[in-house]
């Protein structure tokens, strides 16, 4: 789909009153996050492929380092404040889950998950989502809980923590201390994203060049 918010980039607001020091520090550190060497390389490859299919990269925008962020969470074994009684902790859950996904791919398509084409990888992912799995590896990891408590929240949280993902959805991004003025429907503050629409006197892309 064509980008709804051409040339809009929340990072252009970095040095405006919409970003405070703490925000700059947190976002910069996140952008700089690279893949740690936690887990084995084959498991990291499974994770990369999985992330790529669950949250495809935005077109013509800076790639999101979602896999690196998930790996960082796995390395830190950082939980969210709750753990289902039938689930292991974060690191263990991901390790078992990635192994089981790889086994599921071999079972269904005769090759490891990282080597599958996109359609076959999506077929495996649908099996996970529907709880319709065959590999014996799932016996020590409930697939529904892995999907709901780990796979989905960890991956989408990492992706939508990244500025280019905010830009692609026309989100205002960080907003402290300036905030917003125009709250009504169809009103846009000059530092917000303009949406591509037919018949606009000034095209969205031009307005987005000054959205900061």
């Amino acid at each position: 789909m064509a980008d709804r918010f051409p040339d809009y980039d929340v990072l252009k607001k970095r040095d405006t009153p919409s970003w405070n020091d703490k925000t700059r520090e947190a976002v910069e550190k996140r952008i700089a996050t690279t893949e740690s060497d936690t887990l084995t390389e084959p498991l990291r490859a499974v994770l990369r492929k999985l992330v790529d299919r669950i949250v495809p990269q935005p077109e013509q925008r800076a790639p999101v380092n979602a896999a690196a962020q998930v790996l960082e969470k796995i390395a830190a074994n950082r939980g969210d404040g709750f753990r289902n009684a039938r689930m292991p902790q974060v690191r263990e859950a991901w390790e078992r889950g990635l192994k089981a996904i790889d086994a599921e791919a071999r079972e269904r398509h005769g090759a490891g998950f990282a080597a599958l084409n996109d359609a076959s990888a999506d077929d495996v992912i649908r099996a996970l989502q529907n709880g319709d799995v065959k590999a014996s590896e799932w016996q020590n990891l409930p697939v529904d809980l892995f999907w709901n408590d780990r796979l989905i929240p960890d991956i989408v949280s990492a992706y939508y923590a990244y500025p280019s993902a905010w830009s692609a959805m026309g989100f205002g991004g960080p907003a402290s201390p300036r905030g917003y003025v125009r709250l009504q429907a169809n009103r846009r503050d000059p530092w917000e994203a303009a949406e591509r629409k037919d018949g606009h006197l000034i095209p969205a892309g031009e307005r987005n060049l000054h959205a900061k």
Partner: protein, 547 residues
């Protein structure tokens, strides 16, 4: 990941952080561990923080401990969902039951000021009949406090927090004007209003704890929309910036990064608490101990304090400590509209209908619910679409790109007390060596009937505004109450109407745990009102020599 956790205590050596000034400090009275303080309060949220202020102002010596850090919002808070996870209680808790509760974010805070630091600021009074549901409506259990008295304390809390609300509130007994005028409604709130008008029910601007005019050192709300990740401008009237500065001025000590692990008792009375600070276990002596850790940590501490004299935990002769855990239903209806709504602007819930809290006809279940307009931030929205709606891949990315046209309505619904929903201790221990809580929860048939009615109604409201591609989110909960219920009978309650334990006269509970029932409103205003009442009762008892 959160970029840093505040690792070193700040409130030490006679000073505490000044929440209104970057790098600023305010003087703080200190109390030695071996000196007996009048009141040792465990937790500084809506219950404990409020009580610390009121008791210090009444002249008692007060030390209030919190496991979390003491933030200065102006410099410590980012406009960023991930970074601000540092406000949440993310220590491990085990969940089970038929409908295990998602913990950690919207229902748990680990900061000085508790979860009010990241609450959505919705400040509602419970319907009068909801304080006596057994007598008036035939379900649940009555509160030992009458609504008229609660109304008086609601007044006090609303004045303190400078609640911005409507001139005329459509439901319940007449109430005075809110201290500040209502905020302008954002587009998401207008969609609630138009739907309610179309269905012929009342709606109003949500009474909300963020400033619509300057107050003290804080500016009015700038509508940045990151409210539930912490307010970086101090417009939000959290306990951190409202009651606690007053508490410090009145001589209370706030001890941050202090995790209480055990209450010590001797001869049937509390003598103080064991707590960890800077990696070291210490013991603070106290004449009275108030547990204010909210509905998970409060029963956990009481149970973890079991001793030979109290083998089932403290205050637990009724066997009810940890039982009757009540979440609130948080289901939603969502849809797409042609307007650019941009619901990320402004506080998330600027319009409300309490119609179904006050209407009893037309229900096939007990209890009430309200519903509010919504403004989810990107990660929260992505988790909703991927979790509740099952989207992933390009379908998820494309739907996220339409977020500026999404509208939603979300309920806060009453869950009835049920002893099977409870907090117990797991065998596993945490970083302090303390047994962690196990939280067991299952929805009742009553819950399911209420959910179905509510999501159908909210869906009709959206449909009436022209929203298309509507869908129903069926699996969310919010708030936690009820695990140390108050009552008139020691056999069926943990504390009395003053929130004093029946079993141990110098042990008190002050948080949402004491709620016998929850109604269909967010609990923070009621928790603060009960805390104000408890403070008044302590003053009265002290004056009569009955403390």
């Amino acid at each position: 990941m959160p970029s840093e956790f505040q690792a070193e205590p700040r409130a030490i050596n006679g000073r505490a952080p000044d929440v209104f000034t970057p790098d600023g400090w305010v003087p703080m009275r200190g109390h030695a561990d071996d000196k007996e303080v009048d009141f040792l309060i465990v937790g500084t949220g809506a219950g404990g923080g409020t009580l610390a202020c009121k008791l210090a102002e009444a002249g008692f010596s007060v030390v209030a401990m919190d496991a979390g850090p003491y933030w200065r919002p102006l410099q410590d808070f980012a406009s960023d969902e991930t970074e601000q996870q540092k406000l949440y209680w993310t220590d491990e808790r085990i969940v089970d039951g038929d409908n295990p509760i998602t913990m950690g974010a919207n229902n748990s805070g680990k900061s000085v000021g508790g979860s009010t630091v990241h609450f959505a600021m919705v400040s509602l009074r419970m319907r009068p009949e909801h304080f006596a549901t057994r007598t008036k409506l035939g379900y649940g259990v009555d509160w030992p406090i009458c609504w008229e008295e609660m109304w008086k304390y609601y007044d006090e809390v609303e004045k303190t927090l400078k609640i911005a609300g409507p001139v005329r509130y459509p439901w319940g007994p007449k109430r005075g004007r809110y201290p500040m005028r209502a905020h302008p409604m954002n587009a998401a709130a207008e969609y609630l209003a138009r739907g309610a008008e179309a269905l012929g029910i009342d709606w109003t601007e949500t009474p909300i704890a963020t400033l619509s005019a300057p107050h003290g050192k804080a500016h009015p709300c700038v509508y940045r929309g990151f409210c539930v990740t912490g307010c970086s401008t101090n417009a939000k009237q959290s306990v951190l910036v409202s009651w606690l500065p007053r508490a410090l001025k009145a001589g209370a000590e706030i001890r941050d990064l202090s995790m209480v692990g055990r209450i010590e008792t001797k001869n049937g009375r509390c003598t103080g608490v064991h707590y960890v600070r800077e990696g070291e276990w210490r013991f603070q002596r106290a004449r009275h101990v108030v547990v204010a850790g909210y509905a998970i940590e409060t029963p956990r501490l009481l149970l973890n304090s079991a001793s030979d004299a109290f083998p089932d935990g403290l205050a637990n002769s009724s066997g009810l400590v940890g039982k009757n855990l009540m979440v609130q239903l948080n289901q939603a209806a969502w849809g797409q509209v042609a307007d650019e709504v941009r619901s990320y602007k402004g506080p998330p819930s600027l319009a409300i209908s309490e119609h179904w809290n006050y209407a009893d006809m037309g229900k096939d279940y007990f209890g009430g619910w309200s519903y509010m307009s919504q403004g989810p931030l990107p990660i929260s929205w992505a988790k909703t679409l991927a979790g509740g709606h099952g989207l992933w891949g390009q379908a998820l990315i494309d739907e996220m790109a339409r977020n500026n046209h999404s509208v939603g309505l979300k309920m806060v619904g009453e869950v009835l007390p049920d002893e099977r929903n409870r907090v117990t201790l797991a065998d596993e221990t945490d970083q302090y060596g303390l047994r962690i809580p196990r939280i067991t929860f299952s929805h009742s048939e009553n819950d399911k009937a209420m959910m179905n009615h509510a999501v159908d109604f909210m869906d009709r409201s959206l449909a009436a505004t022209g929203a298309t591609e509507r869908w129903k989110e069926m699996s969310d909960t919010c708030h936690l109450n009820g695990t140390a219920r108050m009552g008139n009978d020691p056999a069926t309650s943990v504390v009395d109407a003053d929130c004093r334990s029946w079993d141990i006269p110098n042990l008190w509970v002050c948080d949402g745990s004491v709620f016998p029932t929850v109604g269909g409103v967010n609990p923070s205003l009621t928790i603060q009102a009960v805390a104000c009442r408890t403070a008044d009762r302590i003053k009265a008892l002290a004056a009569r020599g009955e403390l």
